[in-house]
């Protein structure tokens, strides 16, 4: 029973210990199975943690036995408990899918290293989410980033552009992380502490310090690079396009989510009360960028012939929605962002996995090669269409819930223009999803090509996410309850 008390840290340390063990496993099936077990373990752990947090409130864990500001603290509350659940859950769904996908797309003798990098990436993402220490965030951010570069570069067997994509991601990611470090340094200089709760308590009384303002700005820019906020999104389309299918599905559904969570944490928990800088920074800078990202991303998506790239640009647009939710600076806006974190993970995970199924059979995700594919791969394309509808925001899917809360937040502030813009950008999503439907369903199959439905091991995980898209779209009571608690928790600590 003692083990239960240690779950906050075991959630992260479990995968951290598993990674070196995985590198020792030479048989690739064994490495895959081991990775799957680890991921499911982390998922179960996150379910337990979130459940406990919802019932009894935040859990704090002092690593090394040193109490909070001295040592590094792990602190799980509704908001990061939710993000832990998203990351480990998506990972557990993607892994069964990943096996066949990696067998096709990555050279055989590299699989145990590949799964090791995958576990490290999972470790890093869980670590940055669970920690309550600003510098510890950086360390685990780099664990996840370095392994992500490797995972992206693993697409090089299919297309050498994966290498340049990984390199550019490495350069921009490192600049982002260094900006984050500068920001943390400035905060430390002004407050003398690195613990988030302690920072929040000490930032308040200082107020109006230029050091703090600049520190905050650097942290926001660093995170904006990591979460690919327009116009700092340049690394994302190539990275998502040329990474192996399973990696894209995993990253698109988790990596940017963790960065958005960090942005929430810094904006609201730490700077919520203290700096007079928050409101102008968010209102004048983040909101226009979010809107620009929504339109630039969707418009760029319409013109792509490579569908993975199309969805990557769509992710840029979706990140715009998340940041827009933040920029309302209200509980409803925060709920919209938190809900969209979860919902977007479901829909993008499903969409990228459906494309992964297509690639597995067709060896291409260019739109013309998909002519009439729906007749040959009906289940895959049905999954694509349903999650596409969710992306657009059609009722009875999770996408609708996100849009609903986003529009409610705009309504509260009577921002009619914003509502019009949100609806208009959803129409752009209709266009690029319809392009795919038109080609896949209405055109004739390419003559002479015999393509069969994707294997069950890939189809079932895809459909698991599709069903989640519908289930949480019909009954959003659980997710909205968590999102409300998360939003209140994020703001509440600061007040």
């Amino acid at each position: 029973m003692i083990a239960v008390d240690h779950l906050p840290v075991l959630q992260v340390v479990g995968p951290l210990i598993a990674a070196p063990i995985c590198s020792l496993l030479r048989a690739r099936n064994l490495a895959w199975f081991f990775t799957l077990l680890v991921s499911i373990g982390a998922f179960l752990c996150s379910i337990y943690l979130l459940n406990t947090v919802l019932e009894t409130g935040p859990i704090s864990y002092a690593i090394g036995g040193w109490a909070a500001p001295l040592g590094i603290e792990y602190r799980v509350d509704a908001s990061n408990g939710f993000v832990l659940l998203i990351i480990s859950g998506i990972s557990s769904v993607v892994l069964p899918f990943a096996k066949r996908s990696f067998e096709l797309e990555v050279p055989e003798n590299q699989h145990s290293l590949l799964y090791t990098a995958y576990i490290l990436c999972l470790t890093g993402l869980l670590g940055i989410t669970a920690t309550a220490d600003a510098f510890n965030v950086f360390v685990f951010l780099e664990v996840s980033s370095l392994s992500t570069y490797v995972l992206v570069a693993a697409g090089a067997k299919q297309d050498r552009r994966a290498l340049t994509a990984a390199y550019n991601y490495l350069i921009l990611g490192t600049i982002g992380a260094t900006f984050f470090v500068i920001g943390v340094g400035l905060l430390y200089m002004a407050t003398g502490t690195l613990n988030m709760a302690d920072l929040a308590a000490r930032v308040g009384p200082i107020g109006g310090s230029r050091t703090l303002d600049v520190g905050f700005a650097f942290i926001v820019i660093g995170l904006a690079l990591k979460l690919a906020l327009f116009p700092l999104h340049n690394w994302l389309p190539n990275a998502y396009t040329y990474a192996p299918s399973a990696v894209t599905a995993f990253l698109a559904a988790t990596a940017t989510k963790a960065a958005v969570y960090l942005l929430l944490r810094f904006c609201f928990t730490i700077f919520g009360s203290g700096s007079g800088f928050l409101a102008p920074m968010v209102g004048l800078v983040c909101m226009p960028l979010a809107l620009a990202g929504m339109f630039a991303g969707s418009l760029a998506a319409i013109y792509q012939y490579n569908l993975k790239r199309m969805l990557a640009y769509s992710s840029v647009a979706q990140i715009g929605y998340m940041v827009l939710g933040i920029s309302f600076l209200s509980i409803t806006g925060l709920m919209a962002t938190t809900l969209h974190l979860f919902n977007h993970a479901l829909m993008k995970g499903a969409l990228f996995m459906a494309l992964g199924c297509v690639f597995f059979r067709v060896r291409s995700v260019n739109i013309n090669d998909l002519s009439g594919i729906a007749r040959q791969m009906p289940w895959t394309m049905a999954a694509f269409v349903i999650s596409g509808l969710s992306l657009i925001g059609v009722p009875l899917t999770v996408g609708f819930i996100s849009k609903w809360y986003l529009i409610s937040a705009a309504l509260e502030q009577e921002a009619w223009v914003l509502i019009a813009l949100i609806l208009a950008s959803s129409l752009l999503a209709v266009i690029y999803i319809w392009r795919v439907i038109e080609v896949a369903y209405l055109k004739d199959p390419i003559p002479g090509r015999t393509v069969t439905e994707a294997p069950l091991s890939m189809l079932l995980p895809t459909w698991a996410l599709v069903i989640a898209n519908i289930y949480f779209g019909v009954d959003a009571s659980l997710t909205t309850r968590v999102a409300r608690m998360a939003a209140e928790g994020l703001v509440g600590v600061a007040q």
Binding site: V9, L10, I17, P20, I21, S23, L24, G64
Partner: protein, 145 residues
């Protein structure tokens, strides 16, 4: 560089001292500057020197890939294992107090062990990285420089 007699003799004399110094840095970190990371780097530097003078093949024989494959993960496991041990002994993760009969003794033991873990992984990773680069090129010729 195989034919440079002076280099070979000097480095043969030097390398044991570099290794000794690495060990000193590894275990003296409590008192002066140094610790596992620095020691690992110095240890690896000795091997890089050896490889440069006597050839990568000889260095690979001295430090075979199978060792590296085990040592790289081993260091991380030693470090994290210390954390798990303290957890099993009733403390929180990485709480060294519980590792020995007195808290101070536990702290000393814990610091020693985790620094050793860092040293192992750093040494192995640095050597592996060097071999990985070296493995992709032909021997560097003197007139290349």
């Amino acid at each position: 560089m195989r034919h440079h007699l002076i280099l070979r003799v000097v480095s043969k004399l030097l390398i044991p001292f570099i290794l000794l110094y690495a060990l000193y840095v590894q275990f003296h970190g409590d008192f002066g500057p140094g610790g596992g990371f620095q020691a690992g780097v110095i240890f690896a530097a000795a091997f890089v020197l050896y490889a440069l003078i006597f050839g990568v093949q000889a260095a690979r024989r001295a430090f075979p890939d199978s060792w590296l494959a085990i040592l790289i993960p081993l260091g991380v496991l030693i470090f994290a294992g210390t954390g798990i041990a303290s957890l099993l002994l009733g403390g929180t993760f990485l709480d060294y107090d519980v590792l020995a009969s007195t808290p101070t003794g536990g702290q000393h033991l814990g610091i020693l062990v985790v620094e050793f873990g860092v040293g192992v992984t750093v040494t192995a990773v640095m050597i592996a990285i060097f071999f990985a680069y070296a493995g992709r090129t032909h021997e560097i010729q003197d007139d290349d420089w």
